[in-house]
Symmetry: C2
């Protein structure tokens, strides 16, 4: 029996105890957005700190202006090969409303069979209590079998991920030295499907911007002024219409600078994916992809930048009708970024694009709503290869290098503040109902997730 085989065997033999610990953690009603559950959040943090102590870490509950962080470092002082790692997860959960749509108590986790598959039900089983425990249970097994971990491990568990992560940035800045490691490991993402593991290696960045056009200095009556008076909705509509061409390409100057084409390897992998773009759009009532011509739907979501209009308002929008020419109209715009696109340059170029189209007697105001660059791991990044090997060994399949259309701010912050890249490996499934009633986590996700992390830890040391 090799070193890892013994650990895997221990995991298998003790899976019931691992599941029992998951149930304990899920029972805390750690809904971070609702002040009524403040104490439940603290109790979850204390339970995790004790769990870290239990496996030989110096677990601690750290105060913040919001819910506490849990931090732990392996007490094992021995020199280790491979990168020092910081594992990140979050112990807070989404609210459970509407409660009447749940088939069982969201905070009384049960192991049941659903469509022939064993799952644990409950809020946070998938997002992110079950997922974070896959890592801690892998460490526990290693310690139980070998008395030590293959690499140097620290852990950071957040309690405000579902409510804006307000304390995270100051906390990272204040504990920069303590938390800066060679690599972050994050378990808060999905597999490609039930049998195909995945690493999320591309996350789109985001630039949020609000644009307000002002025409006349007051609302006007469209009978008295309609015709000669500038209408800010008309001005805005023309600007928005100019922002994409007929091929769906964004017309902001220099927008595509820093947008990489896919590597041949990833392109081949994605072309072979059983991803049904037609079904993906069909599920929400659509059928015609509106992204750039020449890219598949999967590429449009995961590897191409966008410019989306998230909200528009101006004039009278209540019931009935008012013959007003508004003074102002505004739009909220967000650009999803990929590769090396520079969020600040894009904001400036968007503003210049808009200003060039505002009539001389109108004015425009801009407001920032966040900016973070895209995250993408280079193909030759060693931990990526090591993670891929570990997942391949566990699942008997090549793991997919997934893109993710959305952003995970922590990844940008780890890079910017702590100077480290993140390896995102997760075992959740699209059907886990995260943020919805009847959240669940497959028992197989949990069990093989623990085994996968054990293999990753071993692989990182090689």
């Amino acid at each position: 029996m090799t070193q890892i085989d013994a650990v895997l065997a221990h995991i298998d033999a003790n899976i019931d105890a691992s599941l029992a610990r998951m149930q304990e953690l899920v029972r805390f009603k750690s809904i971070s957005t609702d002040p009524a559950f403040k104490n439940e959040c603290r109790k979850a943090a204390e339970w995790l700190s004790a769990a870290l102590e239990d496996i030989g870490f110096d677990g601690s509950v750290r105060e913040t202006p919001g819910h506490p962080m849990v931090v732990g470092h392996d007490k094992d002082a021995a020199e280790k090969p491979g990168p020092d790692v910081l594992f990140y997860g979050h112990y807070d959960v989404q609210p459970v409303d509407p409660l009447n749509l749940w088939n069982s108590d969201p905070f009384d986790p049960a192991i049941v069979e659903q469509k022939g598959v064993k799952v644990m039900t409950g809020r946070g089983t998938s997002d992110d209590k079950g997922q974070l425990l896959t890592f801690l249970e892998a460490c526990r097994a290693f310690k139980a079998v070998h008395g030590s971990l293959p690499v140097k491990v620290s852990v950071l568990l957040e309690g405000e991920e579902e409510s804006g992560s307000h304390s995270l940035l100051p906390f990272l800045h204040a504990h920069k030295d303590e938390l800066s490691k060679d690599l972050a490991l994050v378990c808060d993402t999905t597999m490609f499907d039930e049998t195909t593991p995945a690493m999320t290696t591309m996350l789109r960045g985001l630039v949020g911007e609000e644009i307000t056009i002002t025409a006349a200095d007051r609302d006007l009556h469209s009978g008295t002024y309609g015709g000669p008076a500038a209408n800010p909705i008309r001005v805005l509509a023309r600007i928005l219409a100019d922002l994409h061409d007929d091929q769906g390409r964004v017309q902001i100057p220099h927008f595509y600078e820093g947008v990489p084409e896919l590597s041949d390897e990833v392109k081949a992998q994605w072309d072979a994916l059983p991803f049904d773009g037609k079904a993906f759009l069909g599920e929400v009532g659509l059928s015609i992809p509106t992204g750039e011509t020449g890219y598949s739907i999967y590429e449009q979501i995961n590897a191409r930048p966008t410019c989306e209009f998230n909200g528009i308002s101006g004039g009278y929008t209540g019931d009935g009708f008012k013959t007003v020419i508004a003074s102002k109209a505004s739009v909220k715009i967000s650009c999803r970024l990929v590769g090396q696109q520079d969020p600040h340059a894009i904001r400036e170029n968007l503003r210049a694009f808009v200003k060039a189209r505002v009539p001389a007697d109108c004015s425009v105001d801009f407001a920032e709503h966040g900016a973070n660059p895209a995250h993408s791991l280079p193909a030759d990044f060693a931990p990526l290869q090591q993670g891929a090997k570990a997942l391949r060994d566990e699942w008997g399949k090549e793991p997919i290098q997934m893109g993710m259309g959305g952003s995970i701010p922590i990844v940008g912050e780890f890079k910017t503040i702590l100077g480290m890249d993140s390896l995102l490996i997760g075992f959740a499934l699209d059907g886990d109902n995260i943020h919805s009633p009847n959240e669940k986590y497959n028992i197989e996700s949990y069990h093989r997730g623990i085994r996968s992390w054990a293999r990753v830890l071993a692989a990182l040391a090689e």
Copy 2:
């Protein structure tokens, strides 16, 4: 002394009594939109009915589901030359908030000097109690001097003009035979300026339409769907941007069918007007006319049709930001119509224009918000010539044939339901603060307004 000279002399000699009657009428707090003043509305109606009786009419207060109408017909049964006329005015007034901005009690009318000009202050002095009394006082003077009026006169006074005129349509339908005359006279408009009389001969019509674009069947996350998923705000912006060309011309097919060019006479009159388009736009902070190239600002407002966006909404419009791709976006559009433009054809053509631009996997819903055609009197309309003569005689100046950008629904309803055209002559001024604090009516407007109507009545009989 001619017949009319004697009447004018009587008006001059009795102006104080006329002013005292105006003060009596203004004292009723006939705010129609506020149920607290229901009884004040009724008292105003009763006062007017009695005033009609006083000058030899069969005045009556007629019940409606809202505030009552006042109707009166001259009891004089003699045959008359010229058209039978129905005079229209309204006795209800706008609310007076904010009261603290008034320099005097809005319902305690006072005759004071403002910038060297004698005015009567008070809510309704200009809109429309003072104005409607100019006509009744003219009738009173004729009766006092000659015992009879030159033409057959009926009167309709409404009590809900400032609150939606909800009872008017059913009332006109129910009393069609009683109220259908050869010509309507309306006193609810302005002079061109303090010394230049005017007849409002062009009123723009209106088509109101609400357009809702639906893309996906639910709101989407812009991280997960941004790129391939249709965005209804983008769809809508492109449609709106297509609705005008760079010369400000509306692009709805057949839109300009029925739009007349100005007659040489009116064109010459308008070109000579001391109307300062630059100042008109400058007053609201604008400087560049956005209507059709090649037409003056005055023409753009009064004689050209428009397509205006009165309100737009879609997606997240609250504080902060939400990376949502909305399911729906909507716009409220109104077209101002002139000449013979057909409101129903324009609605249909607008809808076809929009439908042709909605992607196949999106849908569009339309909702009607009213349709009324433009009103314009033909240049050879006899009462127009007669009115012009009367005003020329009184003011020593050619009266301006004005357009009015807005609509006065009563004019369309008189035409459609009662089959009669309306002659709109008024003596209000732009600075009368109607609908605002410190409403006033110039004493000269009142006095010479009464004289003007006496001359119009005489002219109509010629």
